[in-house]
């Protein structure tokens, strides 16, 4: 037990050292993708908690992300920046003058998304599961429509440009510490949560709601808990994404965004933290690498005209193949454990 904890601690430290090394050695573009990976780890884990561990079919992630992203942006931008953005219709006074440090804004972003989660969850989580998918999907679209039409708060379809860089100092080296630092924190929280008595209750609900209730588990309360925690982290992820890209607008939070995260979770294994983490990194990198598919491709002197959206087609095909041949994703519900490595070593020592 203690040995494993030490190993975990060592790997966390090693990972942090790695972050610094990468920070120095990777170019701006690579670093950006790497940061994106971290953000997608957060997003995938938060969706996996709701969909994978409790077995709720929620499709509202983009909505929670939008709430987080807008909250954080509006709280961190300077008065001048806001005035510059809101040229069609001035920003409401109570928002114009607030400016808080990034860490505080990020927490508020998470809390706002969590409140949105509670508001949508309270009526819907009492109903049968199939309503949840529709209600959350609707919620996510409604958020988008609201944000498009509240010109004096969100700047509507124009979106908000010039979000400050992630961090306190505004320096680029700080970004990765936040993205992957929070990703790491999310992983730790999820592992601790899933391995607690509450985590077992979540899994019981996923396995069999009727039996779980007969075992004294308050279904509504536990579903709400998971839903609110998931929304909180989705809000944080959305905020980080907005600040990483530097621009947000309602179109960014289209349902496709939720689809991408669902894809990551399914590929990694619904109900596996390890799977979500690996899958988030692989898919994010692959999405970037496959960007070439959307542009013109030259093969042996012939030019194939680029088809925008081609990489999404490739990904959808990939997803279908995984579903067909690997029903339970990369990891199923399995998790990484030090035993894998320790036992392998023991075996080789014996032989």
């Amino acid at each position: 037990m203690n040995k494993k904890n030490t190993l975990t601690l060592i790997s966390i430290i090693a990972f942090i050292v790695l972050l610094f090394i990468l920070n120095i050695n990777l170019g701006i573009y690579q670093m950006r993708i790497f940061n994106l990976c971290g953000i997608y780890v957060i997003l995938a884990l938060s969706l996996n908690l709701i969909n994978g561990f409790v077995g709720l079919f929620s499709l509202g992630h983009a909505g929670f992300m939008a709430v987080g992203a807008y909250t954080c942006a509006l709280l961190t931008m300077s008065r001048e920046m806001k005035e510059m953005n809101f040229f069609l219709e001035p920003i409401v006074p109570w928002l114009k003058n607030v400016q808080v440090p990034f860490p505080l804004a990020l927490i508020v972003a998470g809390i706002m998304a969590a409140i949105a989660g509670a508001l949508i969850g309270a009526p819907v989580l009492r109903l049968r599961d199939d309503y949840l998918a529709i209600a959350t999907l609707g919620f996510s679209e409604i958020i988008r429509v609201i944000f498009t039409n509240t010109q004096s708060i969100t700047n509507g379809a124009l979106g908000i440009k010039g979000l400050p860089s992630i961090g306190i100092t505004g320096k680029t080296w700080e970004v990765v510490i936040w993205t992957w630092g929070i990703a790491l924190l999310t992983i730790i929280v999820m592992v601790l949560l899933i391995n607690s008595s509450y985590g077992r209750a979540f899994k019981a609900i996923r396995e069999d709601e009727i039996a779980a209730e007969a075992m004294g588990i308050n279904l509504f309360k536990h579903k709400m808990m998971a839903f609110i925690i998931g929304s909180f982290f989705a809000g944080i992820g959305g905020a980080l994404l907005g600040h990483l890209i530097g621009t947000i607008d309602p179109r960014m939070f289209f349902i496709v965004l939720t689809f991408n995260i669902v894809l990551i979770v399914v590929l990694g294994g619904i109900g596996s933290i390890t799977g979500s983490v690996i899958s988030a990194v692989v898919v994010t990198i692959a999405m970037e690498v496959l960007r070439v598919l959307d542009g013109d491709i030259i093969i042996g002197g012939y030019m194939i005209k680029g088809i925008p959206g081609m990489r999404m087609v490739v990904f959808s095909v990939l997803l279908m193949m995984v579903i067909l041949f690997y029903q339970r994703g990369l990891m199923g519900t399995k998790e990484f454990s030090w035993d894998w490595i320790l036992n392998r070593k023991k075996k080789t020592v014996k032989s």
Binding site: S197, Y198, K203, A204, A214, M215, G216, I217, L219
Partner: protein, 253 residues
């Protein structure tokens, strides 16, 4: 002392009356049988007692408290635990986890202290783990407690379901066809097992069972339902000689 009393409970589904004006009274430490042909309304009775369905009419009292309309999980907390006709284990989870989950409602740790694993939480977690392992020992499943529950043979899955129900610390245990799918040898063992848990855990047992040898062998009193109506109640000998019961079972007009 009366543990459970139903007062003219009726359950209607649209036009069908699944259970009609059913009266039942169970005293502490009794082992009671509920029998009847297929579709007689037995499981529906269990579902009303455990709050899955709210009776269309009538009241249910548990230890003199009116529990009609109370939520399932609250009824479990009050002390009624059940098993299901078609085994409902948490399939992907281990045998031990199945039993641990039954301890969750009485854990008394909030989400935050469970996640950060406060010393108090660790102490409670250790306590429920020890308790669960000892329960699994009692029912003879401790040697396979880390196996996935769905990998167990049928008889052991039934046994685990009973163990899981016992882990909620019930006062009344209700079993829906515990001998279903068991071979004669397993059925005999089950009879001893039921008596044994009644004594060891000082509980009251109500069971639905088609297997007559088991019902007559272990139950002290029996209620018979047919088409939702109670047609007889009494000791096994009384029931065996009751013409109405024989008629219901043989379908004699």
């Amino acid at each position: 002392m009366t543990v459970l009393r139903t007062d003219k409970i009726t359950m209607k589904f649209g036009g069908i009356t699944a259970v009609s004006q059913f009266d039942m009274k169970i005293d502490k430490n009794e082992i009671i049988g509920l029998i009847g042909p297929n579709g007689a309304g037995k499981t529906t009775c269990f579902n009303m007692i455990t709050g899955v369905y709210i009776p269309t009419e009538g009241k249910i009292y548990f230890e003199d408290k009116n529990i009609t309309g109370i939520k399932t999980h609250e009824i479990t907390k009050l002390g009624i635990a059940r098993t299901f006709q078609n085994i409902r284990l948490f399939k992907e989870l281990s045998v031990l986890d199945n039993v641990l989950i039954a301890n969750h409602m009485r854990l008394g740790s909030n989400l935050f202290s469970s996640v950060i694993k406060t010393p108090d939480y660790r102490k409670k977690e250790k306590k429920i783990t020890d308790k669960s392992i000892s329960l699994l020992k009692d029912v003879g499943l401790d040697n396979i407690m880390y196996e996935k529950s769905s990998s167990l043979p049928y008889g052991k899955q039934r046994r685990l379901e009973i163990a899981r129900a016992l882990a909620t610390d019930p006062k009344l245990l209700i079993l829906d066809e515990p001998a279903a799918g068991m071979n004669p040898q397993e059925s005999l063992e089950l009879m001893d097992f039921i008596r044994e848990i009644r004594d060891r855990f000082d509980i009251t047992i109500l069971m639905i069972e088609h297997h007559m040898q088991v019902v007559m062998g272990v139950c002290e009193r029996i209620y018979v339902l047919d088409h939702g109506i109670m047609i007889a109640d009494g000791t096994p000998t009384e029931i065996q000689n009751n013409p109405k019961v024989i008629e219901a079972y043989l379908g004699v007009e």
